[in-house]
C-alpha cells in the first residue's frame, strides 16, 4: 500500500527537479510552536508549512533551537522530562498530540542524528530492526529484499554486501551515517528529518549522501537541518533561518541566497558575518 502511494508520487515528479509549488499538499503544518526546557524558552512563535516532496532546509547557529524543533515533530519530548511543547503540529492533517500511538507516528518519520548511531548489532539487523518490530511479519526473502533496497538507496550496499553479518558499529563514521539513513528508510517513511548529518562525515561521503537525498525527495518529504549554509543552498527548495529560538525568516532558497531577504540578520548569517 505504502509502495503504491510512493509509486504514484514518483510519477508526478519524474525527474525530481521541479520544486513542489505553493499549491502542493502540506505534509507538516506547524502553528505557533513554542518549546521550553523547564523555564527556558528554546524556540518560540514558529509557524510554517512544509510541502510534500520538498526538501526544507533549516539553517542557524548553535543553540538556535533546530534540534529541539525536530524533536518536537516526532514527539521525542516524551523522552525528556523537562521539555514542554505548546502550539500545534499537524502531520498529514492530523494533530500529532492527538495521535494515540506515537510509535506509529514515528514509523512514518525517519530521523538521522548528527553523530551516527550504529546500534550494537549486525549491519543487516540494524536495517531490519524496525520492520521486524513493526509487526508486519515479513518473510525472510521480503526482509532480505527490503534490507538490500534500503542499503542501495543509502549508497552503502556495494561496500557492505559481503559483510552484512558483521557489527554495524565497526563501520567507518561515514559508512555508519549511511547505515543510519538506510535504517531510517526501512519503514518507507513519509518524511525524513536529518539533523546536521555531515558533522562527522568526510566531504566526499557528504556529496554522495546529498545525491541520495535528491533521489529520495521524489518519494518523501525531507527536512534538512544543516550547519553548512551551502548545503542548504545546494539541496533545499525552501529554507528557514533560526536564530536564538526564533524563526527569523522563511523563503525560497534561491531568493534568500540571491539577496532577497526580509531581515538583514539572514543576510549576515548567509554571508558568514556571524555564527
Amino acid at each position: 500500500m505504502v509502495n503504491f502511494a510512493l509509486q504514484a508520487k514518483e510519477d508526478q515528479h519524474p525527474d525530481g527537479s521541479a520544486a513542489p509549488g505553493s499549491d502542493a499538499p502540506v505534509q507538516l503544518a506547524v502553528n505557533k510552536l513554542e518549546i521550553r526546557y523547564g523555564g527556558m524558552v528554546a524556540l518560540s512563535g514558529v509557524s510554517l508549512d512544509i510541502r510534500q516532496n520538498e526538501i526544507f532546509g533549516i539553517i542557524g547557529p548553535a543553540n538556535s533551537g533546530k534540534t529541539s524543533f525536530l524533536n518536537a515533530i516526532n514527539r521525542m519530548d516524551m523522552m525528556r522530562s523537562n521539555m514542554t511543547v505548546t502550539g500545534d503540529i499537524h502531520f498529514n492533517g492530523v494533530d500529532i498530540r492527538q495521535w494515540r500511538n506515537v510509535y506509529a507516528l514515528r514509523r512514518q518519520i525517519g530521523v538521522v542524528f548528527p553523530l551516527p548511531v550504529g546500534l550494537p548489532m549486525t549491519i543487516y539487523d540494524n536495517v531490519a530492526l524496525a520492520p521486524r518490530l513493526s509487526g508486519k511479519n515479513l518473510s525472510r526473502q521480503a526482509l532480505d529484499d527490503l534490507v538490500e533496497r534500503c542499503l542501495r538507496r543509502a549508497a552503502l550496499w556495494d561496500e557492505v554486501k559481503d559483510r552484512l553479518n558483521s557489527l554495524g558499529s565497526l563501520l567507518s563514521g561515514g559508512q555508519q551515517q549511511r547505515l543510519t539513513i538506510a535504517r531510517a528508510l526501512s519503514q518507507e517513511p513519509k518524511m525524513l528529518m536529518l539533523d546536521e548529518f555531515s558533522i562527522a562525515v568526510d566531504p566526499v561521503t557528504t556529496m554522495r549522501i546529498e545525491d541520495v537525498l535528491k533521489e529520495l525527495r521524489q518519494e518523501m518529504t525531507i527536512i534538512l537541518v544543516t550547519n553548512l549554509v551551502q548545503q542548504a543552498q545546494r539541496l533545499a527548495h525552501r529554507t528557514a533561518f533560526f536564530l536564538n529560538g526564533e524563526c527569523v525568516e522563511i523563503g525560497e532558497t534561491e531568493a534568500l541566497f540571491s539577496g532577497q531577504v526580509k531581515d538583514s540578520r539572514t543576510q549576515d548569517y548567509i554571508e558568514g558575518k556571524f555564527g
Partner: protein
C-alpha cells in the same frame, strides 16, 4: 639527535624537561603498581594458607571417592569418622539454585523497571530502598529466617520444621536480589542513551527498545550481575547457618533441612583441635569452595569473552 650525545642538557634545551607533573605521574604509577600487586599477593597468600592447612589431608588421608560421593559427614564419630561432603554440596547447591530462581527474575525485572521505566522521584526512592536492603547484615536475615519465616512455613505448608531449603533459599534470594539489582541497573545505565533514542525514533516502543536494543547491549554486565549473585549465595554463611536447619541431608523436597559447606566450616572450626584430621578436612572444604568459585569466575570470563566476539 646524534645518538650518544642526546644528553639531558640537549633535551632541556629542546624544551624536554622533567617537570613536577612528570615526577608525580611516575610516583603515582609506582604507588598504583604496588597496590595492584599487593592485592594479587593477598589472594595468593590466602590461598597458600588455606591450602597449607588442608594439604596433609588432601595428600595423605583423603579418600576422594568417599570425600566427594559419600553423604555421610561424621567427623566426630569415635569408631568410624567419615568425611563425605556430598550432602553438604547438595545443601549448598539446592539453596543457591532456589535463591537464584527467586532472585534473578525479580532483580532483573526491578533493574529494568528502575533503569528504563521509572521516572524522577519513583526511581530515586526505589534506588534508596534497594540500597537499604543491600545493607542489612546477614545475621539479621538469618534472624528473619528463624523468627518469621520458620513459623510461617510451618503454618502455611503444615510441615514439622520451617528451617529448610525453602526458608533458606527465599532468605538467600532476598539477600542476593538487591545486589543483583543494583549491579544490573548499573549495566543498563551504561548503555548509551543514543541507542534508546535511535531505537525509539524508529518507532520501537519502550518495551521493544528495552528487549531488542538495551538488554542485548547490556548482556555482559547483566551476566556479571547474576554471577555475583550466585557467588553471594554460594559464599553466604551466617544466614544459611540459621535458616537452613543445619542438618545433614540429601534434600528430596524444599521442605527438607540441609547443611551448607560454608555453614559447616563456620560451625565446626572453632571446636576442632588445630591440625587434627577434622580441622584439616574443614580446610579441604575451604579449598573445594575456592576451586568452585574459581571455576565460576573463569566460566563467566569465558562466556563474556565469547559473547564479545560474537
Amino acid at each position: 639527535m646524534s645518538g650518544q650525545h642526546t644528553d639531558a642538557a640537549l633535551a632541556e634545551n629542546a624544551g624536554d624537561s622533567l617537570d613536577a607533573n612528570w615526577y608525580i605521574d611516575k610516583l603515582f604509577q609506582g604507588v598504583m603498581f604496588v597496590c595492584g600487586i599487593s592485592a594479587v599477593l593477598f589472594v595468593l597468600g590466602i590461598f597458600a594458607f588455606v591450602f597449607a592447612e588442608g594439604a596433609e589431608f588432601v595428600i595423605k588421608t583423603i579418600n576422594w571417592s568417599q570425600f566427594l560421593l559419600s553423604p555421610r559427614w561424621a567427623p566426630t564419630s569415635d569408631y568410624n569418622p567419615t568425611y563425605g561432603i556430598l550432602a553438604l554440596i547438595a545443601g549448598t547447591a539446592s539453596i543457591t539454585v532456589l535463591a537464584m530462581a527467586v532472585a534473578v527474575p525479580f532483580s532483573l525485572g526491578a533493574a529494568i523497571f528502575i533503569a528504563e521505566f521509572a521516572k524522577g522521584r519513583t526511581r530515586e526512592v526505589l534506588k534508596i530502598l534497594i540500597e537499604l536492603l543491600a545493607a542489612i547484615p546477614s545475621v539479621v536475615w538469618g534472624f528473619i529466617g528463624l523468627a518469621i519465616m520458620n513459623p510461617w512455613i510451618i503454618e502455611t505448608f503444615d510441615v514439622p520444621i520451617g528451617l529448610n531449603v525453602l526458608n533458606c533459599g527465599l532468605i538467600l534470594g532476598l539477600m542476593a536480589a538487591p545486589i543483583i539489582t543494583s549491579i544490573a541497573e548499573d549495566a543498563l545505565k551504561a548503555v548509551p542513551d543514543t541507542y534508546r533514542e535511535a531505537s525509539e525514533a524508529l518507532g520501537a516502543s519502550r518495551w521493544q527498545t528495552t528487549a531488542r536494543v538495551v538488554l542485548p547491549a547490556a548482556k555482559n554486565g547483566l551476566l556479571a550481575a547474576v554471577l555475583l549473585g550466585v557467588g553471594r549465595g554460594f559464599g553466604e554463611t551466617m544466614a544459611v547457618l540459621m535458616a537452613s536447619g543445619h542438618s545433614i541431608n540429601l534434600p528430596s523436597s524444599v521442605f527438607d533441612s540441609v547443611r551448607a559447606l560454608t555453614a559447616t566450616i563456620a560451625a565446626e572450626l572453632g571446636e576442632t583441635a588445630v591440625g587434627s584430621e577434622h580441622y584439616q578436612a574443614l580446610f579441604t572444604i575451604g579449598i573445594f569452595l575456592f576451586t568452585i568459585t574459581f571455576i565460576i569466575n573463569m566460566t563467566a570470563d569465558w562466556i563474556i569473552r565469547g559473547s564479545k566476539k560474537g
